[in-house]
Each structure stands twice: as C-alpha cells, then as structure tokens.
Amino acid sequence: MPLLELDGARYPADASETVLDALLRHAVPVPYSCRKGVCQACLLKSEGSAPPAQAQRGLRAGLRERGFFLACQWVPRGDLRLARADNAQFLGNAMVVGKELLAANVCRLTLQPSRPFDYRAGQFVNLRRADGTVRSYSLASVPALERRLEVHVKRYAGGAMSGWIFDSLECGGEVELLGPLGDCVYRAGRPDQSILMIGTGTGLAPLIGIARDALDSGHRGEIHLYHGDAELQGLYARSQLQALAAEHRNFHFHGCVSGDGPLGGCLRGRASDIAFAEHPDLTDWRVFLCGSPSMVHEAKKACYLFGAALADIHADPFELKDLRHAPAHGATEARTDRRD
C-alpha cells in the first residue's frame, strides 16, 4: 500500500486510488475541481519520484520538469513525497554585493547567494528580511552569464520592503532567499521564432534576463522588447538595451512613454498598444508579458486573439495568485505583494 507524505504526515493510499482521492479520503484539504485532468486545480509537486505522463498532460514544460503533476491523474505504485504547489520554495541566504540607483525610484540590487542557486532567467525570488516581511522580485540576471543575482526594486510610497531596501539595506547586508519561482522563461528550440516582449515598470527586469538568455542561447528570430512607463525616467535601462540592440541585429528595443512628459526619442503611448499596432498578427510568435497584472491580463488575451497560441504566451499572474494564498512559511506576516 503506497504511503503519501504531505505537510509532514503520511497517508496510506489504496492500490487503485488516485493521489487526490486518497488525500480527500483522509480529509486532507487539497484544492480540486474537475477530477478529469483538465482544470489543473489539484496541482501538487512530487519530490523524488517522476510523475507519469498521464498526470502531467497539459502542464507546461517548466512545471513538468520540476515534478508538478495533477493529483487526480496519478494512481501511485509506490510511496510518494509530496509538496503543495504554492509552497515548494528553496530557502537560503544572500548577501548584498551591489546597490545602485537606476532611476529616482528604481534601484538595482546585486546579490551573492550563500550556496549555489539553480534558476532560469526570467524566474523570480522571494526576499525575506529578519522580521518575516517577504516580497517578490524578478531576476534580471542570467545564470550562464553571471554568478550573481540581479533584481530591480521599485520604491513605493509607504512600501515596507522597498523603503527599507532603499534607506537601510547596504552592501554586506543579508536577506533570505526563497525560490526560484515562476515559469516565464526562455526555452531552447524553435530558434527562428519571432519573440514579442512587453513590460511595464520593473516588469522589465525579467525581460532583460530572458532576452539576454535567448540571445546567448543563439536565438535567431527577431526579438522585439517594448518597455512602458508613465515617464521617460521610468525607462531606466534605455542605454543598456540600446547597447544590446547595437550588439545583436535581431534584438530591437522600443521605449514607450504613456504620460505627457518628454519623450527623449521614445514612443508615445502604452507599450502594449504600440506593440500590437506594430505587430497585429502574432501567429507562431512567442510572447513574454511582465508587469502590472491588468496589463498582463489584457495583453495576454489580445495576444491570443491576434493568433499566438496560449502555450507560447508566458506571463506570471498565476504565480501571483498562488503566492498570496501561500502559507506563511513560519512567519506571521508573509503576504507577498509583488514588487513592493
């Protein structure tokens, strides 16, 4: 009789029972809906044992590779160690080795993890300080190109974490590191595919990582990156991206200012509006959307209607939702608001 280990307890499963049915029979709260392998509500993670293909059907490659599966679709033959999908986070320390102002309210933090930290460009991490406050920050670094982690922190009025990072956190200081999280990454294959990237605010950070990862991986298709902000100074990585465009003929940077202020050679309007006006047919394109949830949601729908396959549209809103529902990891306050 297989034993299922979850949340520190073990539950026996009958020989013909799915993981979901067994857990529910033992009154373990597990979210579920269709029980037909379609809705993906019962997503869990297997640690150690590889799930069968049937239990990973419909999941994205990044989730499959990391052992996630649908609990309603796996009748286990042997014991399983399980983790909840929203709590599968690595924990370590990271030292601040660089802090630099990119714009009036955006700074770049460079972090040195205390032990090797395996991630992909475009994923994000949770940073936790000693009092338990946790916030999420996307990685702008690329593991193949640099050993240190880079995140962009936007300062919010009254933001507990961002204010602390701007005013108090100094080089040599330490934070705890949780992750990596998220599935918004570049995957090798189809190197001639056109890529559209749209980011607002510090949603640019993961796009910088993904674009450099794609170029370093030999991507040959055109890559168009649209970065939008209300003000010109919010387009804080213009020179870096212009240099990247000068270095790679297939990389194109488009700065977009949505407010009335100076343009500095950039375009006027919302980044997504400008991107879709210039690329109205996205059939066979790969798309990356990062930034405000409303922009990401609207743009994802638009990209789909303009012909992109959903599997080719990469964004983070699901992880946001999961984070907000995540257990507090031992801390009393761990509500995680992205990029605060």
Binding site: C34, K36, V38, C39, Q40, A41, G58, P293, H297, K300, K301, Y304, L305, A309, L310, P317, F318, K321
Partner: protein
C-alpha cells in the same frame, strides 16, 4: 462491422485540438458573451472549452447533467440565457464549417451540444 463513433469519425483528440483555439477565439472576441468566458486563468478556460468540445464531439467524458448545472449556476445568476447559449452554438457551428467538417457530422455535434441547454441554463 461496428460503426465508428462520432468522435472517431471526426478525428478524435487531434480534431478537438484543431477546433479548440478557433472556437475559444471566436467566443472571446464576441462582446455579447465574452464576459462569461473572460478569465485571468486563460489556460484553465481553454481547458474547459476543450472538455466541452470533447463532449460535443461524442468523445470520452464523464460530464453529468448535474456537473453542467453546477458549473454554470453562477453564470446563470449573472444573466446567462438562451441568447448566449445560441451565440456559443453559432460559434461552434462556424468553427466546424471553418475546419471543413462534413455537414452530417456537424449536425450530430450540434445535436449533442443542443442537448445540454436545459442543464447549462439550470432549468
């Protein structure tokens, strides 16, 4: 010889895969009904549309009338009615025509889809 099922005659899962994006795009782009289908979880929504098409194609599914009622109860309370059901059916038919499915098969699919009306609308 046993007659092949409707699902097999349509082409099985490959046919569903070919139809689901065409169908879901039509539904999302239709302002009269898109609010019932608009969700942050587009992948989940697409999966639901695929399950629906599998059923309408006569494929393997475990839908019961009760499932359909429960799944649509919230939408009915938000005003889901005959005109919306008809609009979805119209998009399904247009999808099949676009894929050049034989008229006789389209008729069979539309009969199955139409049979869900009472349960979907909670009557």
């Amino acid at each position: 010889m046993v007659k092949k099922s409707l699902y097999d005659r349509l082409g099985g899962e490959a046919a569903v895969d070919a139809a689901v994006d065409i169908f879901y795009r039509k539904v999302l782009a239709d302002d009269t009904i898109s609010r019932f289908f608009d969700s942050v979880d587009m992948d989940g929504q697409r999966a639901k549309q695929k399950a629906f098409l599998t059923m309408a194609f006569g494929g393997p599914n475990a839908y019961t009338g009760k499932d359909l009622r429960n799944a649509h109860a919230r939408l009915v309370s938000q005003g889901l009615g005959d005109e919306h059901f008809d609009a979805v059916a119209k998009h399904l038919e247009a999808t099949l025509k676009q894929l050049k499915v034989a008229p006789a098969l389209i008729k069979e699919v539309m009969t199955i889809a139409g049979s869900t009306r009472k349960d979907v609308l909670g009557r």
